[in-house]
């Protein structure tokens, strides 16, 4: 994991995208894009926040980002397949959102804390967490098994938008701990979707983060749909413009462009860690699959729309770029595909071996120091299970 983590450990230079220069021209109304769908590099672009964005990766870092995108997509596809075969109760696929997640995830530094929803498998991967971890939640054997403190990546949050407030409070704590104001300070990132922007909690988080100048990046993956409801049911203005009303900058980035996603996130995180407060990033992207494996997107969106977004695929454009610039050859792509295949097979094997939890484990961790009442109930269930002849419990 974390092979060639661009901008965090592998690179010898500072964040590539920072620029204090005044905007060279009018901020574009288009999302920040540094890699076109055709795979052409854009040297620099001014975002709606007036910041000029650019990136400067080494050849190895470009290849590493490509590898991340492919691996994350493959593991996600494997999880979807596992659900279809009855091995998972549900899966929330990230298909189409790989660039937004890998770009932002790779922009995080080790000390930064992330607060995800339930779809951030790509960010989770970038945090160095075993990709099997979220599958326990969707298989129903646990509720997510990683240690949020160790990996600086919190538990998945299923109630929409609730985690944005947790992120805000955590970021307030970062400030109270005196961990902002320098280039090695801490920053926090909160992930949520376009639907979440309608929630009270997200708006309260905007208010709080603004008035407390929290070192927090709100990273909205606008994938155009909240289950079946299109963006028009959530807002009548572009979502990044919401930030202005709360007193911090907002910027829209091409969420299918891993380079731009990295650039805007790194910039916002750097500002946050320096004590310059929150920012809202709207990663404009598209959920290519269903909301979860339980719904049928053909009921609420048309094929031509999906095809139009297919043409903006984050992996295809990165591959075109690598090929055109002769940064990678067919052997490299084959090797990445083979690694992804192996990791997916490994994931499958381990999922099938995931044991069911002991029934009495349901009583664990309700309270940090236990409870006499629950001890009684635990003993009762144990006795009941043992009363069955041939019980294996």
């Amino acid at each position: 994991m974390a092979k060639g983590d661009p901008g965090v450990t592998a690179r010898g230079k500072r964040a590539p995208s920072r620029s204090k220069r005044p905007a060279a021209g009018q901020p574009s109304s288009e999302p920040v894009q540094l890699l076109t769908p055709e795979g052409d590099r854009v040297d620099s672009v001014v975002g709606q926040d007036g910041v000029e964005y650019r990136v400067d990766f080494t050849d190895a870092e470009y290849r590493s980002l490509y590898r991340d995108l492919v691996l994350v997509r493959k593991l996600d596809a494997e999880a979807t397949a596992l659900q279809r075969q009855g091995e998972l109760g549900l899966w929330a696929s990230l298909l189409g959102q790989e660039a937004a997640q890998v770009g932002s995830g790779r922009a995080l530094r080790s000390q930064d804390m992330a607060f995800p929803t339930y779809r951030e498998h790509g960010v989770l991967y970038c945090r160095g967490i075993d990709p099997i971890m979220p599958l326990g939640l969707f298989r129903g054997v646990d509720q997510g098994g990683w240690d949020p403190n160790e990996f600086k990546f919190n538990m998945y949050t299923i109630v929409i938008g609730a985690q944005t407030l947790h992120a805000t409070g955590y970021a307030m704590g970062v400030t109270m701990d005196g961990k902002t104001g320098s280039e090695d300070g801490e920053a926090v990132i909160a992930y949520f979707g376009d639907g979440a922007t309608s929630q009270g909690d997200v708006n309260e988080a905007f208010v709080w983060a603004g008035v407390f100048n929290a070192p927090l990046v709100f990273f909205c993956q606008n994938n155009q749909y909240a289950i079946s409801e299109p963006l028009e049911r959530q807002t009548r203005i572009p979502l990044y413009q919401r930030a202005a009303g709360f007193g911090f900058p907002g910027v829209r980035v091409d969420g299918n462009d891993v380079l731009a996603s990295y650039a805007v996130t790194r910039h916002a995180l750097d500002n946050a860690r320096l004590g310059q407060g929150p920012a809202l990033i709207e990663a404009y992207t598209y959920r290519m699959g269903a909301h979860t494996t339980s719904d049928d997107p053909t009921r609420y969106r048309i094929a031509s729309e999906v095809e139009a977004w297919q043409a903006k695929d984050p992996i295809a454009r990165m591959r075109a770029f690598l090929t055109r610039q002769q940064l990678a050859d067919d052997a490299f792509f084959a090797e990445v595909d083979e690694q992804a295949r192996r990791e997916a097979v490994h994931l499958r094997e381990r999922v099938l071996e995931m044991p069911n939890p002991e029934p009495v484990s349901m009583f664990d961790h309700v309270y940090p120091h236990g409870s006499a009442e629950l001890d009684t109930q635990r003993e009762g269930l144990s006795r009941y299970l043992e009363s069955f002849e041939g019980s294996v419990h």
Partner: protein, 329 residues
């Protein structure tokens, strides 16, 4: 031995001051808790002495108060949130029951949320709508939360400190109509020597019937016991103190001795705590009972206009009527 006579409100204030002194990770947050010292002045003077990083005036949004406190707790702080009134806790309900209560469980013990949610609750002060409610059953029904309430100045002083020091997320219900009642408080008693936070207590021993009450109703139960004694009937009054989990051992012991039980609370009777307590006593003490467990509660209405709240709230006469009925079986 510094025993002083304090009101419940001042005892809470002093207890919170001690909590801030004893642990630098304790922070108080809520609406108007800073310069104003809270609308009931429970946090009076704390921001002045501990600064606005420790006693934080928040934006006016209850879900935000609780949700950000969750993040602070994950960061290692011990937030003490004030919800200004009982009826205003509902916007924060999702954060409390879905996040505060469950994060420890969800993370298989890796995350702790040691926070206190203080709520002035209950009626009897002539307030307008949303300022007199008893929401305890909503929280007591949620695993992962602990719910406690104090009824006198000594408990107010000790229990608030115990709650802040606890690793459990605790809903701390303050009986607002008792804020001004005075009583002795031993300020020097070590916290470890205080009566346990999660234990009921017999506050008046008796032999003829048990009256269970908590929070604002303990005073009513004690007054009823005084009145009953004049008629030659000795009521045992148990202050539950902890509402979730319930400390029923002490209750069973009392009921087995007296054979009769009346549960008193302000909240509506339907699916209130009294229902659970009556059922549990029936399961555990059936052969000791001389009569069914009776409940004296608020009615199953929204909290009414204040000019009729005296009729809504259980009072001494309704408690004594119920006690009389338990002797009629």
């Amino acid at each position: 031995m510094a025993t002083e006579t304090l009101t419940v409100g001042k005892a809470l204030n002093t207890g919170l001051r001690r909590a801030l002194e004893s642990d630098p990770k304790v922070v108080i947050m809520g609406e108007d808790v800073g310069k104003l010292g809270g609308v009931f002045r429970i946090t009076d003077g704390l921001q002045k002495d501990f600064g606005d990083q420790r006693v934080i005036d928040t934006p006016l949004a209850e879900s935000g108060i609780i949700g950000t406190a969750v993040g602070l707790a994950i960061r290692g702080y011990r937030p003490v949130c004030e919800i200004q009134f009982d009826g205003f806790v509902y916007p924060a309900y999702d954060q409390i029951v879905s996040q505060v209560a469950k994060l420890h469980y969800r993370s298989q013990g890796k995350v702790r949320i040691p926070m206190v949610i203080r709520i002035p609750y209950g009626g009897g002060i002539g307030a307008v709508e949303h300022h007199s409610e008893s929401p305890e059953a909503y929280f007591a029904h949620t695993a992962g939360l602990k719910v406690v309430t104090c009824a006198n100045p000594q408990d107010a002083y000790s229990m608030i400190q115990q709650a802040v020091a606890s690793d459990d997320p605790i809903v701390f219900l303050e009986p607002k109509r008792r804020y001004w009642e005075k009583g002795p408080v031993d300020l020097d008693a070590p916290l470890s020597g205080a009566y346990p936070l999660h234990a009921a207590r017999v506050v008046r021993p008796g032999t003829d019937a048990t009256v269970l009450a908590y929070g604002p109703m303990v005073r009513v139960a004690l007054d009823a016991a005084t009145a009953a004694a004049e008629d030659g009937r000795e009521l045992e009054v148990v202050d539950l103190r902890t509402l979730s989990p319930l400390d029923l051992g002490a209750v069973y012991e009392s009921v087995r001795r007296t054979g009769r039980c009346v549960v008193v609370h302000e909240a509506p009777g339907n699916l209130g705590l009294g229902s659970e307590i009556a059922a549990r006593i029936t399961e555990e003490c059936f052969y000791s009972l001389e009569a069914p467990v009776l409940r004296v509660t608020g009615y199953d209405t929204p909290y009414p206009a204040s000019r009729v709240e005296e009729e809504y709230l259980p009072d001494l006469d309704r408690v004594l009527d119920a006690v009389d009925r338990t002797f009629g079986w």
